[in-house]
């Protein structure tokens, strides 16, 4: 269970990296396309016939950000109620899964609202780093040494193996 918790947390963290890479790829492609005389407008977008390098970055960003990361964050939150270390609940697992889930929910909301309020993009970018840090922190807490330390701190008399 602890391992699955860690894997899910790493999926969220890795997803953030994919998100940053895909959107940079897509925007780089747009810049190149426009530089070469290409025009992007609503007609082109809705035709779904855009053909420029980096175009794939948008669906990747949409699928990973709209489905993969939220699903992983939700599963992480559910799993956090069951993840144990030495038959006791792993301290902080629920808290950090909750933090990750809340940040991801905020991130998705910001992402879907950017077209209406472009300034939200500033928070979207910064919040991505918060998701990354929180997910890595959640993942690292499950390492045996970290879990043992957490357990020791929680119960000074506990015997660890």
């Amino acid at each position: 269970m602890r391992r699955i918790y860690a894997v899910l947390a790493w999926i969220v963290a890795g997803g953030v990296v994919v998100q940053a890479a895909s959107i940079a790829f897509a925007l780089g492609g747009i810049a190149h396309f426009v530089q070469e005389g290409g025009v992007i407008d609503k007609a082109l977008v809705e035709s779904r016939q855009a053909v420029f390098t980096g175009e794939l970055g948008f669906p990747i960003h949409g699928i990973v950000g709209g489905m993969v990361i939220p699903a992983a964050a939700l599963l992480l939150l559910i799993l956090s109620f069951f993840v144990k270390y030495q038959r006791t609940h792993l301290r902080g697992a629920r808290l950090w899964a909750g933090v990750v889930f809340a940040l991801v929910a905020l991130q998705a909301t910001l992402g879907y609202s950017i077209a209406d309020m472009p300034y939200l993009g500033l928070i979207h970018g910064a919040n991505a780093l918060a998701v990354l840090v929180a997910a890595i922190h959640a993942a690292l807490r499950t390492r045996p040494t970290a879990a043992a330390r957490v357990a020791r701190l929680a119960s000074p008399n506990a015997v660890t193996t």
Binding site: V39, I40, D41, K42, A43, L44, V45, E46, S47, R48, Q49, A50, V51, Y112, A115, D116
Partner: protein, 495 residues
């Protein structure tokens, strides 16, 4: 060997899983549409509200039918004034200035031939499907034709199979700029070029002028922005000081912008002349998907004026010098709600006989076995969309509201609709008659029309992929039926 309790647990889990899978399969199969008639669409219960407080009959073909859509035709004895044969084919489209594109053509080209008629002419178009495998039709976008000629597969006719033909007959009653396109698998066939322009000349010249004319039909072929089928700009020679009318037709799936550094006017919107249109400067004009605007511009004393049509192409009016400057696209847009001068409406919009809500939303669901994030109308997923039942002669008021996050160019077939207000602000310019209206996220419009063209009329989003994903409803006249079906042996798939 598992213990007995373990065995019981495993068998129980297997039974529970099987039951869950069975229920899921049952739920999924219940969404399959199979062959269906538009007559059976719409939830039971009242939808329209009569002005006297009584509810209109609605849904499930509530009105007892007596007239088939096939009977709603133009005078069959009248000889046509304009007769044209239109042959649809599947072939490579040559895009001058760009690269070839595998699509659909009409008479060997895309856009197909422009149909020109005089106001009052009877147009007869013989449509032949030479090689469009899935079948095809022709819909006369913006023209208030008799219902039998509306060209919607599965509602007003069967899709014309390869080798088949269908004759459309209608009187071109209203002068203006229109277009035709397939309404069979329209999201694919329109995008791939099965379309063309229609121009109806007025019986009496318009006061808005424009002795010289040019078409600006916009379409994206394989990612290439084209103007009249060419990935090139165009030049309209004109004497200095003369007025030129540019008929802009947006056949794409999204809004197009029109702007110029030179002053211009919008002479007509969706085939209806604007009364006393003011000169426009530093404003972009937005043309919804499927919509049209007629722009009038004066050729300058020297050189040529440049009109940007769509994001990528321009039309040059006057004498080219080769040094025509571009113009930065104005961020401010022209508001048709207050453009031009008021004029009599011709009907009493303030006291409607029917009032309907058309609220657009979005939610996950399953349509015809296909899971997705679909558009909803009044909170309901297709095919549970409302049926707007009307009687001939009704004045119909519709509250359009977009609660989704995307723009929707809403298009009602067979009627022109008057915009009364937007977000509660009443229209105060020239009567704003439309057949294609962009509704932006969060916006609401009150629109009205007179139910004066009996039939069953589609009312859908013209970002055609949205119609595939459920953004389609219908206006149905009392006493009208259709023998045609969707998803059946005839292979009708209107969207």
């Amino acid at each position: 060997m598992p213990s007995r309790p373990d065995l019981v647990r495993r068998v129980s889990a297997a039974c529970a899983l099987t039951a869950a899978a069975g229920l899921a399969a049952l739920a999924w199969s219940s969404t399959l549409l199979g062959e269906y008639s538009v007559m059976t669409m719409g939830p039971a219960g009242a939808l329209g509200r009569g002005h006297a407080g009584h509810d209109a009959e609605a849904g499930s073909g509530a009105a007892a039918g007596s007239t088939s859509v096939t009977e709603l035709v133009a005078d069959p004895l009248r000889k046509p004034d304009v007769r044209i044969r239109l042959v649809a084919g599947s072939q490579t489209i040559d895009v001058p200035g760009g690269h070839p594109f595998q699509g659909y053509t009409v008479n060997g080209t895309s856009p197909g031939p422009t149909i020109r008629a005089r106001q009052g002419d009877l147009v007869e178009a013989v449509f032949v499907n030479e090689s469009v495998g899935a079948g095809a039709t022709l819909h006369w976008h913006g023209m208030d034709v008799p219902n039998a000629a509306d060209g919607v597969a599965g509602i007003t006719q069967d899709a014309v199979p390869v080798g088949g033909q269908h004759t459309y007959r209608f009187v071109a009653e209203d002068p203006g700029t229109y277009w035709y396109h397939s309404h069979q698998l329209s999201h694919e066939q329109v995008e791939r070029g099965l379309l063309g322009a229609v121009v109806v000349e007025p019986a009496v010249p318009s006061p808005n002028g424009g002795s010289t004319e040019a078409l600006a039909l916009l379409h994206v072929y394989g990612g290439q922005h084209t103007l009249n089928g060419r990935a090139l700009d165009e030049h309209v020679p004109a004497e200095p000081g003369s007025t030129v009318r540019i008929r802009v037709i947006n056949t794409d799936q999204g809004t197009a912008s029109v702007w110029s550094a030179a002053p211009f006017r919008v002479a007509a919107i969706d085939g209806r002349e604007v009364k006393a249109p003011a000169v426009i400067q530093d404003r972009s004009v937005l043309v919804p998907a499927g919509g049209r605007v007629d722009i009038t511009m004066q050729a300058p004393a020297h050189g040529a004026a440049r009109l940007n049509v769509g994001g990528a192409r321009s039309i040059f009016i006057g004498s080219m010098t080769g040094d025509e400057p571009g113009a930065r696209q104005p961020s401010a847009t022209l508001d048709f709600l207050a453009y031009g001068s008021p004029a009599p409406l011709g009907f009493e919009a303030a006291s409607p006989d029917r009032t309907f809500d058309y609220t657009i939303g979005r939610r996950p669901g399953v349509i015809d076995g296909r899971p997705g994030n679909f558009w909803t109308i009044n909170g309901r997923l297709y095919p549970d969309a409302p049926m707007f039942n009307v009687r001939q002669g009704d004045v119909v008021l519709m509250h359009l509201r977009n609660e989704s996050g995307e723009v929707h160019p809403m298009h009602l077939h067979g009627h022109h609709v008057l915009v009364l207000s937007r977000d509660g602000i009443p229209a105060k310019g020239s009567p704003w008659w439309i057949d294609s209206l962009d509704i932006h996220p969060g916006e609401s419009y009150d629109v009205a029309f007179v139910a004066d063209n009996p039939g069953i009329w589609t009312d859908h989003c013209h970002t055609l992929e949205h119609a595939v994903d459920g953004l389609v409803a219908h206006v149905m006249y009392e006493g009208i039926t259709t023998p045609f079906t969707i998803n059946g042996r005839a292979g009708n798939h209107p969207e």
